[in-house]
């Protein structure tokens, strides 16, 4: 009997502690939470782990948000949902967002989460490509226009004449030697190539950010209107999201559990090793070791580089004003 009594005491202490320290526990009352919706630009993979972690561990609640995440994917372009007021917040590539703004969609960047460009070119060393000059005259697989800005600037920089082949969403053409060089996202296709049996030492990689062509990709966007109505909402969303990201990076295994569960729920085949790779690369891209840029900041230089690139390729007519385009929401 004494034992049971002491067990109850212990249980009570444990409960008390968890109430005090569990992130979910400290929450504002539901009446005071502001409703908001968010859509990532693709399926709930590790590329968006931070947002799901923030949701799961109550970081949004802690910032006064009652957030709902709309599953992204090929059927639901995040830009459309944002434009049509179906989502309050969305992630987009910087090089997607600038043309949208140029086309008159009144979106603004409220946080640049990714500081480095993950887009890269990959070639097999046995095709004789080890340095940029070796690409001369080769067949290159490139994705759609937005993804061609950096490669084209790269070819121009190294004065390369290449044969461009439109690349699908698989890397099979490259694996079968249908093209000599393939486009790849470092956190995705590159790992797919590795997991198709090619070893890193058999591959030549060309990271655009290493060649002065850094086009930072993922950022958080909202409509000007949303920001005007409730800038605090935007700031809360950004800060809670960044908090989620920081937690995700310091707790990778927990994070991967969440990511895998979400993917399973969405019936998306996924492998944990791939998501792990993706999460690790997101950390490299969002919190680069060699840069002092705080997560969330859009660096004007990066903005100008991307916008100029887009303009040179005829993807935008005018470069939107930086101050119209970006609102600093990560700082208090």
């Amino acid at each position: 009997m004494r034992n049971r009594y002491s067990h109850f005491t212990l249980l009570f202490i444990v409960c008390l502690c968890s109430l005090l320290f569990h992130p979910n526990a400290v929450s504002a009352s539901p009446e005071r939470l502001k409703k908001a919706t968010f859509i990532p630009q693709w399926v709930p993979q590790a590329q968006f782990a931070g947002y799901y972690v923030a949701l799961k561990y109550g970081m949004y609640k802690n910032h006064g948000l009652d957030l709902r995440i709309i599953a992204g994917g090929p059927a639901r372009p995040s830009s459309d949902l944002l434009k049509n007021h179906k989502a309050d917040f969305a992630t987009l590539w910087l090089s997607t967002a600038i043309p949208l703004r140029d086309q008159g969609v009144p979106l603004i960047n409220i946080a640049q989460t990714m500081q480095k460009s993950a887009l890269m070119l990959v070639a097999k060393k046995n095709s004789g490509i080890v340095k940029p000059a070796d690409i001369e005259g080769k067949k290159i697989g490139l994705w759609g226009p937005i993804f061609q800005v950096q490669p084209k600037a790269f070819f121009k920089k190294f004065n390369l004449d290449v044969k461009i082949v439109r690349q699908s969403f698989s890397v099979n053409l490259f694996l079968r030697d249908g093209v000599d060089v393939a486009s790849a996202m470092w956190y995705n296709e590159y790992h797919t190539i590795l997991n198709s049996g090619l070893n890193p030492d058999e591959l030549s990689t060309f990271f655009f950010h290493q060649h002065g062509l850094n086009f930072p990709e993922d950022g958080i966007y909202t409509l000007e209107e949303t920001y005007r109505k409730d800038p605090d909402l935007c700031r809360s969303f950004v800060r809670a999201s960044l908090e989620g990201w920081r937690y995700a990076f310091s707790h990778p295994e927990e994070t991967l559990d969440i990511v895998m569960k979400n993917l399973e729920k969405a019936y998306i085949p996924a492998t944990r090793v791939h998501q792990k790779w993706m999460l690790e690369r997101m950390r490299d891209l969002m919190l680069p070791d060699d840069a002092e840029i705080p997560m969330g900041k859009l660096v004007p230089g990066d903005y100008r580089r991307v916008a100029n690139g887009l303009k040179e390729n005829g993807l935008i007519k005018n470069i939107p004003d930086f101050n119209d385009f970006y609102r600093n929401c990560y700082e208090k």
Partner: protein, 646 residues
Amino acid sequence: MTSIGTVMKNRGLAFKLTILILSSISIIFFLIFSYNYSVSRRIIVSNIEKNARNLSLATVNRIDMVLNAIEKVPENLAAFAEHTSHASSDYIDLIRMVVENNPEIFGAAIAFEPYVLGADTPRFAPYFYKKEGGIKYAHLAYDYFFRDWYQIPKELNRPAWTEPYFDEEGGQIIMATYSVPFYKVVAGEKKFMGVVTADISLEWLQKIVDSIKIAETGYGFLLSKNGTFVTHPDIKLVMNETIFSVAEARNDPELRKLGRKLIRGEKGFAPFQSLVTGKACWMVYAPLASSSWSLGVLFPQTELMADITRLNGTVLFLAVAGFFIIFAVIIWIAGTITRPLRALSRATEHVAVGNLDAQVPRIKTSDEVGKLAHSFDAMQTSLKQYIQKLTETTAARERIESELKIAHDIQMGIIPKTFPPFPDLEEFELYASIVPAKEVGGDLYDFFFMDEDHLCFVVGDVSGKGIAAALFMAVTRTLIKAKATQLLNAGAVLTRVNEDLSLENPSMMFVTLFMGILNIRTGEMEYANAGHNPPYIMGVDGSLKPVKPTGDCILGVEEGFEYRTKNLLLKEGETIFVFTDGVTEAMDEANALFSEKRLEKRLVELHDRSIESILSGVMSSIENFAQNAPQADDITMLLLRFHGNR
């Protein structure tokens, strides 16, 4: 080693026997078992490998047969499209027919490059596919130009199988597409026109591979060219993981290496850990000739080895059981051998301490132990007899010895032993001694007055030892006493003694003898020597000279021999030292002789002592010299010191 050796040495026969035989048997068992195990294992593995190769080859052929047949269809269609010009409707009919007539083909299409069929046709791709028992038509209206099934054959300029993929329209089935590019020669240049495709559902292929069941958990799996699992018993891997992502997840570089071999289209046989059970398996792998996909077939080691393991278990059990049987048999045999031996050993212990009547155990067997017991019995009997005989002979010998002793005592008794012999006479001193050897010897000395002035003294040595020598010596002494009268000189006495001795001497005994006759008033001395050691004359000044030899022969040998008499004069204080060869031929432990040289040296040292001291001094020198060597001969010394009329 020593400790084991000591242990073995101190143990009984049964123990040694048991240990040695059992350890030999254990080694033999172990060798047989190991050999049996390794050989049977090798045979099984080799059979498994052979079967595995055959099975995988058969499976690969079965799959390839279907794929090859399917490949022909779009190839023929492509040739048809290349060589003639057709209306769009012809293609549509043709594709429909292909899908209708080929049960293996799930769908087929012909897809053209943009605008090759006219400026108003940006794309043309009629597609027929099976659905719900019927055939459906679809016009592919999307940009199919960037799909793998279109792009890969286009860029490679050759037909190609796509990676397997999930068909999103026809339900959750895995498909693969075989695409054949076709061309048209326009203005002498070969121009790419499009591709003809045939889709196959991989359900049948999955069924074929899934039907591979080896033992309990052995299975087959198929990898695409990229290493993706097309079929696998673990459904989570199928179309989701590659062998490389599994290797990464398991942090298993060996698996990655193996995966690279597989996708390179290599054939082989390798150890492999089952992805389902985690058990050690062998995997045989072989590529499909058509699509370059790779078939792996897993053979679970423990399960296939179950028979051999069971067999080896039985063999081991039999070996252990046999071991114990042999152990028991050895214990029994050792017991039957050593029990009588132990009884015998106890009996010998009794015999050893002298109990010759101890009962020797009756052993009826006629083996070595029986023989030993019999021999021991015989030995005991003959030992008893021997001891009896020995007791008798010992008694006889003891009697003889006591008689000999008496003879010796008598012999010694007839020799004068009172010194000084003539205490009233001041003209000379005389001292003599015989130290007899163990046996009754033949040395003699004697002295007596022939008349008032003439002292006769003799020292002799009879040849040989024992009773005969003693008797001969007694006879000699008696004869000398009888013959030595004042009428005769020394030589004449010896001549007569010799006559008598050699007359009846069948045993050819002889005696050496020195005889001196001293005029105690004048010191004149006549002497005769029958082959005896010449005595020494010791001067007062320590000078030493031997008495001149007479050159005569020993007594008792030559009848009628005339002995000569010689004369010398003893001055006052001079001493004559007469001795037998027992002195000079005394031997030490190394059989070295005491010799004249040592004697002379000792005599010179002792010249001024009393004659008793000289005698005892020489004697102690001999004793020191001989140490523990037994005395071989009688030692006889006689000293006579002449003083004259003082």
